[in-house]
Structure formats: structure tokens, C-alpha cells
């Protein structure tokens, strides 16, 4: 049954969601959130994710998000308890007039939670994502990520933020490098120096051109992200390539802005679907991995605490 040919395969990524359907989901979520005083939030999130995933297709088969509101609600409660405890400790220190120590403990707590949240979020989100019934997975090690994270944060602070570019690339490499889709492995090969120079050039040219260059800047950031991703399986490969142009970026951002302003925010659904549509229609895949031969390898993981903690911290690292 195994197809051993090394011929170049064709792949097609696309996003088929439309604004009005997504608007329906957003509005119903909104209504239920208002009625339940926002307790509905985890279920609302599950509905949005389900729609986003299933509207995204690879070779005409859609991705799926199998997470549930219930799982995320449990995670939400755990998150509330964790943050509650952290702030309670801070409160106790403040009460006994040791605010400096209290703030130190609070910051240390938040910095510790960040990598734990990222790790948990990736494990959960990947495990609950499937394509053709094949689960994604995240194989990163929590302790390793935490140690790295602290090291990178430390370098970023002592370099007055310059190391931030390296940190971002290292983190991205670690996270994407640990993603699996069945027995397909992913890799990210972006480098801190390149990314730093890209950012520096973009910043300076945007400044000089009074913002006009920003569309080229967005284009090159997107390109740098996409072009450095690749997938491997049994010595075969798929490379990712961006076809986005600066005028794509202009059309996307400018029209999104207009939509939001003139609909008083109600056009949010269209802004999201337009963005997704552009992202997926501008990624070109090339390579020789046979998509019919992927094997199920990743286990189920239903603890959504990391996912909810990421929401609390407002970090969204999901690719």
C-alpha cells in the first residue's frame, strides 16, 4: 500500500470561511455570553475555533478542532484558582507592608506561568487539532522550555531588549520544531540576527517613508515566518513559501480598518475571515511527502489549563 514515489506532489492550502457565517457564530456567542454573564466564554471560544479550523483545508480536506467548551471551562477554573492564589500572595505581602517583595513574587509568578502556559496551550491545541482524522501533537519538554525561557528573558533584559529578536526566533524554532502531524515533523529555521536586521531595516524605512514602507515591512515579516517553515517525513519534505505582496498587505489592512470603523466593530467577523483567507491563499507548499500515507502517532491530551492561562496573559503564540 505504501506509495514510495519521490515525484513532486501538489498541495493546496485554502480558507473557505465566509464573513456572514462567522458573523452568525460571533453574534450567537455574544448573545450567550451576555445572557450567562460571560460564563459561556470557553464554549464560545470552542465554537469560533471549530469554525476557523474546519474552514481551512489542505488538498480539499478540512482541519478540525476537537476541543470542547467543557475542557476549556475546566482549564478556565484552574486558571482562575492559580491566578487567584498568586494575587492573594501579593495581597498578603502588601498587607504586611512588604510591597516590594510582593511585586517581586508577582512578577516571578507571572514569568513562571508564561512558559507553562505556552507549553500547555501548545499541547492542548495541537492534540485537539486533526486533519483527515490524524492528530497534531506537540512534543516539547516543559522543564526544557522553562529553563530556555528564563535564559532568553535574562539575555533580553540585560541587552535592553535587543536579544528579543533572538528570543522570538529561538522560541518559534522550539515550538514549531516540536509540532507533529501524525508522523510528519515540522521545522523552523529563522535566525535571530536575520530577524533583528529585518526588523531594524523595516523600522528605519517605515520611519523615513512616514509609514508607507510598513506594508513592505509586513510583507517581509510574513515571508520570513512562512519561508522558514518546512515539514519532513521519511526523508521527504514539504517547503512553505509566501506569495504575499505589499499590495496584498495594503488591501488587507486598509480595508480591514475601514470595515471596523464604519460598522462600529460589527464587521469584526469579516475582518477575521478576510485575514485568514489572505494568509492561507498566499502560502504555497512544495515537496514530495505523500499526504495519503500519514500515520496516527500522537496521543490525546485534554487538559486546557495552559490554553486558558494564555488567554489570561493575552499571549497568542498559536501559528
Amino acid at each position: 500500500m505504501e506509495n514510495e514515489s519521490t515525484e513532486v506532489k501538489s498541495y493546496k492550502l485554502s480558507f473557505n470561511g465566509n464573513g456572514s457565517t462567522f458573523f452568525g457564530i460571533v453574534v450567537v456567542n455574544w448573545l450567550l455570553s451576555v445572557i450567562t454573564l460571560s460564563i459561556y466564554y470557553p464554549w464560545a471560544k470552542a465554537k469560533q475555533l471549530k469554525y476557523m479550523y474546519s474552514s481551512t483545508t489542505l488538498n480539499d480536506d478540512s482541519f478540525a478542532f476537537n476541543g470542547t467548551g467543557k475542557e476549556m471551562f475546566k482549564g478556565y477554573i484552574k486558571t482562575l484558582v492559580i491566578f487567584g492564589l498568586l494575587f492573594a500572595i501579593f495581597g498578603v505581602f502588601t498587607y504586611y507592608e512588604m510591597p516590594t517583595l510582593g511585586i517581586l513574587v508577582l512578577y516571578f509568578g507571572l514569568f513562571t506561568i508564561m512558559p507553562i502556559a505556552i507549553h500547555g496551550s501548545y499541547r492542548y491545541r495541537m492534540s485537539r487539532s486533526t486533519w483527515r482524522g490524524i492528530r497534531f501533537g506537540y512534543r516539547g519538554d516543559r522543564t526544557e522550555l522553562m529553563l530556555n525561557f528564563f535564559k532568553w528573558i535574562f539575555f533580553t533584559i540585560i541587552s535592553l531588549g535587543i536579544y528579543g529578536s533572538w528570543m522570538e526566533m529561538n522560541l518559534r524554532s522550539y515550538l514549531i520544531g516540536n509540532i507533529r502531524m501524525g508522523d510528519v515533523e515540522f521545522r523552523y529555521k529563522g535566525k535571530g540576527l536575520d530577524y533583528f536586521l529585518l526588523g531594524l531595516k523595516g523600522f528605519l524605512l517605515t520611519l523615513i517613508t512616514l509609514g508607507i514602507y510598513s506594508f513592505w515591512f509586513y510583507k517581509s515579516l510574513f515571508e520570513y515566518y512562512v519561508n522558514n517553515i518546512s515539514a519532513y517525513k521519511d526523508g521527504k519534505e514539504i517547503t512553505f513559501k509566501s506569495k504575499a505582496t505589499a499590495s496584498d498587505m495594503f488591501n488587507l489592512l486598509f480595508v480591514n480598518y475601514i470595515i471596523l470603523i464604519f460598522t462600529l466593530g460589527l464587521g469584526y467577523a469579516w475582518v477575521v475571515t478576510r485575514t485568514m483567507n489572505l494568509v492561507f491563499s498566499r502560502i504555497q507548499l512544495e515537496g514530495d511527502i505523500d499526504l495519503d500515507s500519514i500515520q496516527q502517532t500522537e496521543a490525546d491530551y485534554t487538559d486546557a489549563t495552559g490554553e486558558d492561562m494564555s488567554d489570561f496573559l493575552n499571549i497568542d503564540f498559536i501559528m
Binding site: 500500500m1 473557505n16 456572514s20 458573523f23 452568525g24 457564530i25 460571533v26 453574534v27 450567537v28 456567542n29 455574544w30 448573545l31 455570553s33 451576555v34 454573564l37 460571560s38 466564554y41 464560545a44 471549530k50 474546519s54 474552514s55 480536506d61 478540512s62 478540525a64 476537537n66 486533526t130 486533519w131 483527515r132 482524522g133 490524524i134 492528530r135 501524525g182 471596523l260 462600529l264 466593530g265 460589527l266 469584526y268 499526504l291 495519503d292 500515507s293 500519514i294 500515520q295 496516527q296 488567554d311
Partner: protein
């Protein structure tokens, strides 16, 4: 019996398997054969999702295995059966209401939020203030006073005279009032919730008669008497709680819009309190036998300052012309006050020197 071609993914590999899917309406189950064997999925054990023309069917025990169907007739029949058996919940109905109904719901929610701001929040705040003990007003005012006012250049001689001036007036106050004169080029005066009222020398310099000073005192005292600061705090706080509870982060942009609305509305509350202080302050003047014209004279003098004080003055207070207009409206039927209060004139002259 209903039959269709479908694609099956077994959750073991990504190979699409072409199957013949049978819907057995009597048994209430889906039946299909794979290379491994015969499968029966009862309709109570499955979950379905429809995306465009594709229906995805998953088994609740094994979420990764799925069947994809594209046949519209089969899908219609199958969904009909699910609906009949009560397997399609209220959510399905909500989602398929159509864009017009969804826009209507969105507008209604928006209306509810706006209504909430202008009707529910002021009401809640008004009630909340009654529950909050007055000692909070006192400690709040005291904190502000020691933090900011005492660090300024206080004119103690003028402070004493101003307190004597105020003591001559009947101000209907329940709290002990204390006036402080601060040396400053800024034309300003404000009342703290604990009964501390601060007047800047630049404002005193602008005045030419004691009835203007009485007008100012009347205005500021009403802020204290009616606990305006605490009411303002309660309204702002309930506004914040309202936003965070009702909107969470389901739609972040909505929250931003709501927050802007809150700021605007907070300014309108502020204007409402200012007007209340103007009107009731004028009434205090009349009760004390002081010519209420002093209030409008004061506003006319302040008007020349507006160039400097724009835009906060205009936004947090009513327009000066409007203030003069409604005060004039209020006092037009009142008898004229021609007798001069000797004691107040003396004290006023003392402050001016």
C-alpha cells in the same frame, strides 16, 4: 433506506477510504463497510457539523475517525432525521437563523448595552452611594487633601477670612466644611468629598463683589452635600464592571467601543452634576438673601478664561453660555436683592487685599 457515497478516515492513517454509507431510519443508525469490517453508528452516539456543502460525522467515542458526505439530498434527509429525534439542539437553530436575524440580534445587544449605560448604571450607582458609609468620603477627601493640597502654598490669612465668610452663610451642609485658599495662577476651585473646599487665589482675584464668591461657595458646597464625587466614582466603577462582565473578550473591538462610550457618558454625568451644583447653589444664595446675579457674573468672568481652559472645561462642565442662560431662567421671577450684606462685604474686601 438512504444510500450515498462518502469518504471515511479511520483515525489510524490519512488514507481516504471510499465507502457506501447507508442511513437506516428505522434503526436510527448509519451503516458502512470498510476493509476491516462492518460498522454501525447509532445517531445518538455521533456529532455532526456542516460546513458549506460538506457534512462531517464523528463518533463520540473515537473523535478522530470521521465520515465526510457531500450528497445534498442525503444530508437534508439525515439532518431531518436528527432534528426529528431531537439530536439538533437550540444552537443549530440559532446559527441557522440567517444574516438578517443575526444583525438584528447584534443591534439589539448593542442597544441593551447603550440602555444599560444610561439607565441601569446611574440607577445602580445612586443606590450604591446610599450603602457606602460617609466615612469613605471623609478618608478619600482627607487622602487627597494631605497628598496634594497641603503641599501647595497655602495662604493662611485668606484661608481664615474665607472660612469666616462661609460661616456667615447657611449652607444646609451635613458635613463640617473647611475652606482653603491656595496661592496659584490657575483659575480654579474644587470640592473634596470630606467637606474640604479649595479655592485658588487667581480665581479670587477675578471676582469684584461678594455675591460672586457666595455663588462659588454655593456651587462647591452642593458638590459636597450631594456626594457628587462618590456618585461619580460609583458610576465609573459600575461602568467598568459592566464592560468586563458583559463583554469579556469575545469581541475585543466591542469592548473598546463600549469603553469610549463609557468615557463620553462619564462626561455627561459630570455635566449633569455641574448643572445640579449651579442650580442648587443659586438657590442657596437666594435663601441667604444674596443676589443670585453673582452666579452669572462669576460665569461671565470665567468665560474670558475659557480660551486657556479648553477643552477639559467645556467637556466636563456645561458650556458657560448655557450655564448663564439656565441660571437667568431660574432667577428671572425672583424679587431683586438690593440690600447689601455689610459683614460679607467687609470679609470679601479683606480677602481681596
Amino acid at each position: 433506506m438512504n444510500l450515498t457515497a462518502a469518504t471515511y478516515f479511520d483515525g489510524i492513517s490519512s488514507i481516504p477510504q471510499q465507502i457506501e454509507l447507508t442511513l437506516d431510519e428505522l434503526q436510527g443508525q448509519l451503516e458502512f463497510k470498510t476493509s476491516i469490517g462492518f460498522n454501525e453508528w447509532g445517531i445518538e452516539e455521533i456529532s455532526v457539523e456542516q460546513f458549506g456543502n460538506t457534512l462531517e460525522i464523528r463518533h463520540n467515542d473515537n473523535k478522530v475517525a470521521l465520515i465526510k458526505v457531500n450528497n445534498p439530498d442525503f444530508i437534508a434527509e439525515f439532518l431531518g432525521l436528527l432534528k426529528q429525534k431531537g439530536q439538533l439542539g437550540w444552537y443549530h437553530i440559532f446559527i441557522h437563523l440567517g444574516i438578517k436575524a443575526h444583525i438584528l440580534i447584534a443591534v439589539l445587544i448593542l442597544g441593551l448595552i447603550v440602555g444599560g449605560y444610561f439607565l441601569i448604571i446611574p440607577w445602580v450607582a445612586e443606590k450604591a452611594v446610599l450603602i457606602i458609609p460617609e466615612k469613605y468620603d471623609a478618608s478619600l477627601g482627607q487622602t487627597f487633601f494631605t497628598e496634594y493640597v497641603t503641599k501647595n502654598n497655602v495662604d493662611s490669612a485668606k484661608t481664615n477670612t474665607l472660612n469666616e465668610f462661609a460661616a456667615e452663610l447657611k449652607l444646609n451642609n451635613s458635613k463640617q466644611l473647611h475652606f482653603t485658599v491656595v496661592q496659584s495662577d490657575i483659575v480654579n476651585a474644587f470640592a473634596l468629598p470630606d467637606g474640604n473646599i479649595v479655592v485658588y487665589t487667581a480665581l479670587l482675584d477675578k471676582m469684584k463683589a461678594y455675591d460672586e464668591l457666595a455663588g462659588l461657595i454655593g456651587h462647591e458646597v452642593i458638590h459636597v452635600n450631594n456626594r457628587h464625587t462618590m456618585k461619580m466614582l460609583c458610576r465609573n466603577l459600575s461602568g467598568y464592571i459592566f464592560i468586563s462582565v458583559v463583554l469579556t473578550d469575545v469581541n475585543g473591538i466591542m469592548a473598546v467601543i463600549a469603553d469610549n462610550a463609557r468615557n463620553l457618558e462619564s462626561l455627561s454625568f459630570s455635566r449633569q452634576f455641574e448643572q445640579e451644583a449651579d442650580v442648587q447653589g443659586t438657590e442657596l444664595m437666594i435663601q441667604n438673601g444674596i443676589n443670585p446675579k453673582g452666579m452669572t457674573t462669576l460665569f461671565t468672568r470665567l468665560k474670558s478664561e475659557e480660551k486657556v481652559l479648553v477643552p477639559t472645561f467645556i467637556s466636563s462642565h456645561p458650556m458657560t453660555d448655557d450655564r448663564i442662560k439656565y441660571i437667568n431662567e431660574l432667577i428671572k421671577d425672583k424679587p431683586s436683592f438690593s440690600t447689601e450684606n455689610k459683614r460679607l462685604t467687609e470679609l470679601f474686601q479683606e480677602i481681596k487685599n
